[in-house]
């Protein structure tokens, strides 16, 4: 299992976590390359359908961050 590199779909709020992720880049913080970002205008846009669709399409997990 050591080589398992999961794909995590992350729904990031444009105004909050997306900005934090940008800033993490500016600060050159290093973190694992497993997340795939879907930018959403607000976590209010999130719907359970997206979660299920992501898993269905082969994602290993979904992370929603406002």
């Amino acid at each position: 299992m050591a080589d398992f590199e999961p794909k995590i779909v992350s729904f990031l709020c444009n105004w909050c976590s997306y900005g934090a992720a940008d800033l993490a880049g500016v600060g050159r913080a290093q973190y694992p390359a497993n997340v795939r970002v879907v930018r959403i205008p607000c976590t209010g846009r999130m719907s359970p359908k997206f979660f299920l669709a992501a898993l269905r399409e082969g994602a290993d997990a979904v992370w929603v961050s406002g």
């Binding site: 398992f4 999961p6 934090a20 800033l23 993490a24 973190y31 694992p32 898993l55 992370w63």
Partner: protein, 53 residues
């Protein structure tokens, strides 16, 4: 939601939530690491995946 997931056979750990303000880059990194670790521990998602046709 989590109950529904268990009902459907999906581990609740596959859905994670967090709240991070746009200034909290350190927190963002911590959460990414944490989420990645947790999902790695769960192993690949086998249930509910669309079958390759």
């Amino acid at each position: 939601m989590k109950e529904l997931m268990e009902h459907m056979g999906i581990e609740p750990g596959r859905l994670q939530f967090s709240w991070i303000s746009s200034a909290e880059s350190t927190k963002f990194v911590d959460v990414v690491k944490d989420v990645t670790e947790k999902v790695k521990a769960l192993g690949p998602n086998k249930n509910f995946v669309k079958e390759a046709s």
